[in-house]
Structure formats: structure tokens, C-alpha cells
């Protein structure tokens, strides 16, 4: 069969298009779908692709770079600084303890200390791609487990740099001096110059991000061509990757730094949405190639060794992570998500393994075996996480009345007329208010810490992803009158709306929205009851400001109400004439939006005149004679 690029692309895409929706439908998450797709088309399955899967994997690792860029975009420097303790503490301990423990075990199996240490460091790595993708899909990124996992993964990305520097020193057999994949151009310079070059390149990334990129993006935005913006965004990420690679730094790390620098810029959302599809596809490709690179022949030839290694490594990592989580006061349910999630060996291990083979640190025999172990452990991760979510978490979070296991015992709760999805600061006010009025609500939340706490406070709160049909069904969505959608994540809200529309068409939906844009999306989704989370509060501040300026309380209150009605009407009007293509970037969109709103304000009734009580009418001769 002629292996043209198009044919390969077709195979990869088709595999993804078939497998991912199936995996999603079964509630398995996209990562597992990609992995299965990879196995299916790989040498072990339909044999569409052979060993070139490895090369594709190197290419697809670029998806990880993009993912870190996007993660960086969502992390402001101040937040990163607040996380310094868990990054250095939790991350640092995870990497060092795991390295040492695994190295010790390897030495117990008669390996040399150098090889053992290399294996330890390789094993310490977890998979940023799988873990972050899964956490994101489940909406867990903001939970304690999500934050802790992120901190550890970030530290591992940092640790890659000294590891790559350290590996040549571990070589027993003098390596063939060959320039390796990472760090090449500068290795000709003496060490102190290398250090300066490295520092300079980081400085270049930061300074470019801070001062140079905004005018460039503005220029690109002004061309009015969306693809130019996308091209610039891609150029930025690729450029950083090239720069970082040439000075021997991790491109993922460089992209992450650039993302953080741009986190405060007005182009953040636009950048994110430009990069996102590439990131998603490349990550998918990456997962597929992991799946296809699993060497089943090797597994068949020494099954016990490999399976033993996989189980052993994953359990050791898990235990170490769990203990560290305990030390860092991660609560039980969250700790399970955290330690089980990070228990696999990650994609960086592939890099380190091939590097150590080149450098002569490890023998080909060991690296081949390890490659299989790494791939299997990655493939197992979504499965283990699912088992954790389905079997362990419900027991921990829903003490006594386990919704997923003992459905029957929950019948009383199912009759509640109201379901509240999301019980953060927005949802809990609603819940408290309803309770104050003796209206019982069934609460769904996917932050197990939160669920745990609320349960201890005596509330009927259930843990789970409210966008899932099964959970909604169990929560009594079939009998309830309404669902209050108070989740903070905009995409999850839309997902939930779709699920409700499809399966529970009679359920009233009251939906929280973040801002105008989000409200538009919700209107497009057909929502009638939309509540912008800051709108009422802002108006109350405005009312009090008027009062302090000497306005009469009642007039200020009426004016606020008038404004409220006017603004809701403007919102509906603008949503009907919104045209996505008019907007090139978030900043311009915001300004145009504001301009339209303010124009509408001018056309509206003068808020100063309260109507009614008109002097002229009262003054007419109806009354005087």
C-alpha cells in the first residue's frame, strides 16, 4: 500500500473520528479513545502504520508544547507565584523521592547505580498530556487535586532540563559523540557562556511577550484576516520551541513561560482559541502514536516482566504520591484523584529513554522494555482514573447514600423539585436561599473537597459531573421541575444545557452566565432565564454611589431598575444582530460591544426623568379650577 502523507493523514483522522466519540459516549474520555485508535491502526491491529509511529510521536510531542502554552495563558504570574510552595515542595519531593526509591529498587535487581538513577529519574516523570487533558475534560482543574497535579507536572517539566544535563555524566560506556535532539547549537560554547545564552533566551521570551507581541497582534488583528492571527500565534509557539531547543531548554517550558507572560494581555482568549484546535489535534496524534507504538510482540515475549514492571511502577508512584498528598494536606478523595492520576510514566520518558540510549546510559534491551512499560502505563491511566471515579470516589464522597451504587436508597432525594448544578459561591447562595424557604434542592458538584465539606455540614450534596446523563437521571432530573445551572465553567454549562435539552426537555433551566458574551452564547442555545453573575451587584454599587452623591434612595433604586430593564433589552437586541466574523479579537470585540451598548443607552429613555409625577400634568387646569 502506498504510504502517502494523505493516506496516513486519512488513517489517523479516521481512527480518531471513529474511536473518540465512541469512547466519549461510553464515558471513557477522549484520551483513551485516541489510545485505542492507535492500537487499532498500529502493528498489533490493522497494521496501517508500522514503526513510523515513533517519528510521528516526536512530531506530535509538539502538542504538549502547545498545551503548556495554553495552560500558561490561563495562569497569571501572580497565581503562579502563589503556587510556588506546592510546585517546589510537592513537585520537588515527588521527583526526588520517586527517583531515589525506584533507583534503590533497580539496584536491588542488580543494576548499576548509574543505570538505576537514570531509570529512577525517567520513572519519576508523569504525563502532562494525559493528566491535564483528563482533568480538563472532567472540569477538575480548579480543584485541589487539579492544582496539585499541575504543580507536580510543572516541576517535572522544569526538572527535565537538569536531567538532560546530568544524563551524559551517567554514561558507563563512552557514548558516540552525537548531537542529540535537545540542546545542540550551544554545546560548542564553554559552560559559563552556555548559561548566559540560556538566561538570555528566557529573557528574550519574556521581553518579547511583554512588549513586542501586543503591537504585532494588534497589527495582525487589524488586517481583519483571521488566518493571519492564527499564523502569528503558531509562529510564536513554533519560534519559541525552536529557540528553546537550540539552547537546550525544554520547548514546553519556554512555551509555558510565554503563555504566562501573555496571560494578562487582551489577546489571551483569541490566542487560546487560535491554538486550541492545533493543540487538540496534535495531542490526539500524540496519543494515537503512543497507542500504536506499544510493542505487543515484546509484551508477548516477556509478559510477566512487563506487566510486573507496569503494576509495580504504577503502585509505587501511587503510594509515594498519596503519602506526599497527605503531607501536603490533600483530603482523601482529592488525594485519590491526584495520586492515581499521576501514577503513569509520562511522555518525557520517551525523550529521556532515547536520549539515554544514545548516550549509552542504558542498554537497548532496557530501553525497549521501558518504552513498552511507559506506553502501557499511559494507556492504563484513563482506565485507572475511571475506575477511581466510578468505584472509589463515590464511596468517599457520598457517605451512606451512594448514588451510583445504591440507587434505591436515594428515592426521597429524587423527589426534590430543584436541582442545583455547581455549588460554589454562586450556587450556594441560591441553595441557602431556597433552604430558607423550605425548598429542598438536590445539589451536584464535581469538587470532592467541596462535596465532602458540605456533606459534613449536613447537606444533601452529590459528587459528580452534572453534564453526564446518568448522574442527572439519578439526581431525579426526570421528576424535578427545574435545574439551576450554576457551574462556573462556561463550556460545561453549554454541555449541560445540551444534555438537559436532549434528555429532559421538560426541565426548566435557570442559567448563570459570566458576562455578556457568555450570555449571547446561552441565548443562542435557546436559554430564556440567564443571570449575569455580576450585573445585579454592579447596579447595586451604582445605586449606592448615587445615594452617596445625594440622590434620593427611591429615585436611585428606580433608576437602577429602569437601567436593568433597558440593559436586558439591549442584550437581547445585540445578541440578535451579533455577527462573529465582525470580531477579530477579544479587545476589539469588547470595545465594539461597549460602543453599541452605549449608543443604545443614548437612544433609550433618559434615565434621569422618572416619568409619572409630571409637573405639567399636575399643573394643568384640571386641578386649579
Amino acid at each position: 500500500m502506498q504510504q502517502t502523507v494523505f493516506f496516513q493523514a486519512m488513517i489517523y483522522l479516521a481512527a480518531a473520528v471513529i474511536m473518540v466519540p465512541i469512547a466519549k459516549r461510553l464515558g471513557l474520555g477522549s484520551v483513551l479513545g485516541y489510545l485505542v485508535a492507535g492500537i487499532a491502526i498500529g502493528p498489533a491491529g490493522l497494521k496501517f502504520i508500522g514503526l513510523e509511529g515513533q517519528d510521528i510521536m516526536h512530531f506530535a510531542e509538539f502538542g504538549v508544547v502547545m498545551m503548556l502554552f495554553v495552560i500558561g495563558l490561563e495562569l497569571e504570574p501572580s497565581r503562579l507565584w502563589r503556587m510556588r510552595k506546592s510546585i517546589a515542595g510537592l513537585g520537588g519531593l515527588q521527583v526526588s523521592v520517586t527517583s531515589v526509591v525506584v533507583a534503590g529498587l533497580a539496584m536491588a535487581f542488580q543494576l548499576g547505580w548509574k543505570e538505576s538513577l537514570a531509570l529512577g529519574m525517567i520513572t519519576a516523570m508523569s504525563s502532562t498530556a494525559i493528566v491535564m487533558q483528563t482533568l480538563n475534560e472532567k472540569g477538575w482543574l480548579k480543584t485541589v487535586a487539579g492544582q496539585s497535579s499541575f504543580a507536580v507536572l510543572l516541576f517535572q517539566d522544569l526538572a527535565i532540563i537538569p536531567m538532560l544535563a546530568l544524563f551524559p555524566l551517567l554514561a558507563d560506556h563512552p557514548a558516540v559523540q552525537e548531537t542529540h535532539g535537545t540542546g545542540s547549537v550551544v554545546s560548542a560554547f564553554p559552560a559559563w557562556q552556555q548559561a548566559i545564552i540560556v538566561l538570555l533566551s528566557v529573557a528574550i521570551v519574556v521581553i518579547t511577550g511583554k512588549y513586542l507581541l501586543r503591537p504585532v497582534f494588534r497589527l495582525m488583528a487589524r488586517t481583519g484576516m483571521r488566518e493571519m492571527f492564527t499564523a502569528t500565534a503558531l509562529l510564536l509557539v513554533v519560534g519559541i520551541a525552536v529557540l528553546m531547543t537550540s539552547v537546550g531548554l525544554s520547548p514546553a517550558l519556554g512555551a509555558f513561560v510565554a503563555g504566562v507572560v501573555l496571560a494578562n494581555s487582551e489577546y489571551r482568549h483569541e490566542l487560546e482559541s487560535s491554538i486550541d484546535p492545533f493543540k487538540g489535534l496534535l495531542l490526539g496524534l500524540f496519543f494515537i502514536s503512543v497507542g500504536s507504538s506499544i510493542d505487543f510482540q515484546l509484551i508477548v515475549s516477556k509478559p510477566f516482566l512487563i506487566i510486573g514492571l507496569v503494576v509495580g511502577v504504577m503502585s509505587f508512584k501511587m503510594v509515594i504520591l498519596f503519602v506526599l498528598g497527605k503531607i501536603f494536606k490533600v483530603r482523601n478523595a482529592q488525594n485519590f484523584i491526584f495520586s492515581i492520576g499521576l501514577s503513569q510514566i509520562g511522555e518525557f520518558a520517551f525523550v529521556l529513554l532515547s536520549f539515554s540510549a544514545q548516550q549509552g546510559v542504558l542498554t537497548k534491551d532496557i530501553t525497549d522494555t521501558m518504552m513498552a512499560v511507559v506506553a502501557i502505563s499511559m494507556a492504563l491511566t484513563p482506565l485507572v482514573m475511571m475506575i477511581n471515579e466510578k468505584l472509589i470516589l463515590p464511596r468517599l464522597c457520598t457517605v451512606g447514600s451512594n448514588i451510583e451504587v445504591h440507587k434505591a436508597s436515594d428515592i426521597e432525594e429524587q423527589d426534590n423539585p430543584v436541582i442545583i448544578a455547581g455549588y460554589g459561591h454562586f450556587g450556594n447562595t441560591i441553595g441557602r436561599f431556597l433552604r430558607a424557604n423550605n425548598v429542598e434542592a438536590t445539589v451536584l458538584d464535581n469538587d470532592s473537597d467541596n462535596v465532602d465539606f458540605l456533606r459534613r455540614m449536613g447537606l444533601k450534596v452529590y459528587y459528580g459531573d452534572a453534564t453526564r446523563y446518568e448522574l442527572l437521571d439519578i439526581a431525579g432530573a426526570g421528576k424535578a421541575q427545574m435545574i439551576i445551572i450554576a457551574i462556573s465553567d462556561e463550556e460545561k454549562r453549554l454541555e449541560l444545557i445540551e444534555t438537559v435539552k436532549k434528555h429532559f426537555p421538560n426541565l426548566h433551566m435557570l442559567v448563570r452566565s459570566t458576562n455578556r458574551n457568555d450570555a449571547y452564547d446561552l441565548m443562542n442555545a435557546g436559554m430564556m432565564h440567564i443571570y449575569r453573575e455580576t450585573f445585579d451587584t454592579s447596579l447595586r454599587v451604582g445605586t449606592d454611589a448615587l445615594k452617596l452623591l445625594g440622590y434620593r434612595a427611591h429615585e436611585a433604586t428606580r433608576s437602577a431598575k429602569t437601567f436593568f430593564i433597558h440593559d436586558e433589552r439591549t442584550l437581547k437586541h445585540l445578541s440578535s444582530i451579533r455577527n462573529d466574523e465582525e470580531y477579530v479579537n477579544a479587545a476589539r470585540q469588547h470595545i465594539e460591544e461597549l460602543e453599541m451598548i452605549m449608543r443604545a443607552d443614548q437612544q433609550a429613555v433618559n434615565l434621569q426623568s422618572l416619568g409619572g409625577w409630571d409637573r405639567k400634568a399636575e399643573n394643568s387646569d384640571y386641578h386649579t379650577t
Binding site: R552, H623, T625
Partner: protein
């Protein structure tokens, strides 16, 4: 010594010269509590306990308001509906307000001529005030004739000033218990007591 509670109700005080003049004058009288209802309850959510407490602390209650549609602005109705509770203000055990004096102090766009059988409004002001009168009666209070400022849109500054002083004098007299039922029994408006 009597204490006076003015229950003031005006949704747009900033537009009313008359009421603002009256307000300035009555705020200066010792023994008068000026309770600005729209300012306290801009959304008409009335603190019933506070209002009942105020009523108990005073001997003379005045509803001071513009004469909208032959009655008061809506907050006063809301106030009556919520504050005058059964078995507190009325009913077999409702004696909380018994013996207190109460009247309306109005600003009224129309002239006195318009409030006549032959005038445009066909009835005198006092007849329009019958619901207040009967409410007071039900609460065992003594309902007095109103204090009225007519033709608010054409009244001159000087006249307005004299209305203000007149109002203040009446309030002072009530504080000093100088006004008895023999004074007001036969007048149409309280204005007539202090020309």
C-alpha cells in the same frame, strides 16, 4: 409635652419646592421626628417592627405627602397594610395606638376652588380623605382636619415661606399641648388655627 411623628412620603422630593420648604420648617421644630419613608424603604420593603416602635414613642402622627390622585403615594398604603396589624393597631386587643392624634399634611396642585361640589374635582379634600379618617377611627385614634397647601405650582416664594411658618407654628402648638379638640372640631383645615 407631646411628641410628633411625621410619616413623610414623597417619591420625587427633589422636584417639589413645597414639600422641601415644609420639610425644612418642620425638621427645625423640637419634639418632631421626621421619618422619610421613601428614603428608608426605597423598594417599599417596610421594617414593620421599627415603624411600630416609632408609633409607640409618639403622640401625634402626621401623614405628610403630596395629594396624588386624590390620595397618598403608594408607600403610605403599603405602610398601613403592613404596620397596622390586627390585635396591635385594631381588633379586640389592638390598643397600641389608642388615643393618639393623627392627620394628613398635604400639598395639592389644585386650588381650593376646585375641591367643591361645583368645582372640577366635585368633592372637598376632606371627603377624599375618608379612608384615612376611618382607618384612624378603627385604630381608636383621633382623626384631625388636614393641613393643606393648595396651588403648589403657582404659589409664590413668599407665600410658600408663610405656609412653612404656619406649619411650624401648628407643630409647635401640638408639642406644647396648646391645641385641644375645641380648637379644631369646627375647622375644615388646620391652617385656619394659625393665620
Amino acid at each position: 409635652m407631646s411628641k410628633i411623628l411625621i410619616q413623610f412620603a414623597h417619591p420625587t422630593l427633589s422636584r417639589s419646592n413645597v414639600q422641601r420648604t415644609l420639610e425644612t420648617h418642620c425638621r427645625n421644630v423640637k419634639g418632631v421626628t421626621f421619618n422619610d419613608l421613601y428614603e428608608h424603604y426605597p423598594d417599599l420593603y417596610i421594617d414593620v417592627k421599627r415603624e411600630q416602635q416609632l408609633l409607640l414613642q409618639h403622640d401625634v402622627i402626621i401623614f405628610q405627602h403630596p395629594f396624588y390622585w386624590y390620595s397618598s403615594p403608594p408607600i403610605l398604603k403599603q405602610w398601613q397594610d403592613l404596620v397596622l396589624e390586627y390585635n396591635w393597631a385594631y381588633g379586640p386587643e389592638g390598643d397600641a395606638l389608642a388615643g393618639k392624634k393623627i392627620f394628613n399634611a398635604l400639598s395639592c396642585g389644585g386650588g381650593k376652588e376646585a375641591y367643591k361640589e361645583t368645582g372640577y374635582n366635585r368633592f372637598p379634600v376632606n371627603q377624599f380623605l375618608l379612608p384615612f379618617n376611618q382607618t384612624a377611627h378603627l385604630c381608636k385614634m383621633e382623626y384631625l382636619p388636614p393641613f393643606v397647601v393648595h396651588e403648589t405650582y403657582t404659589v409664590s416664594e413668599a407665600e410658600l415661606e408663610s405656609y412653612g411658618q404656619q406649619y411650624a407654628s401648628i407643630l409647635n402648638a401640638f408639642v406644647k399641648d396648646e391645641i385641644g379638640s375645641h380648637h379644631y372640631q369646627h375647622v375644615e383645615y388646620l391652617n385656619e388655627l394659625y393665620k
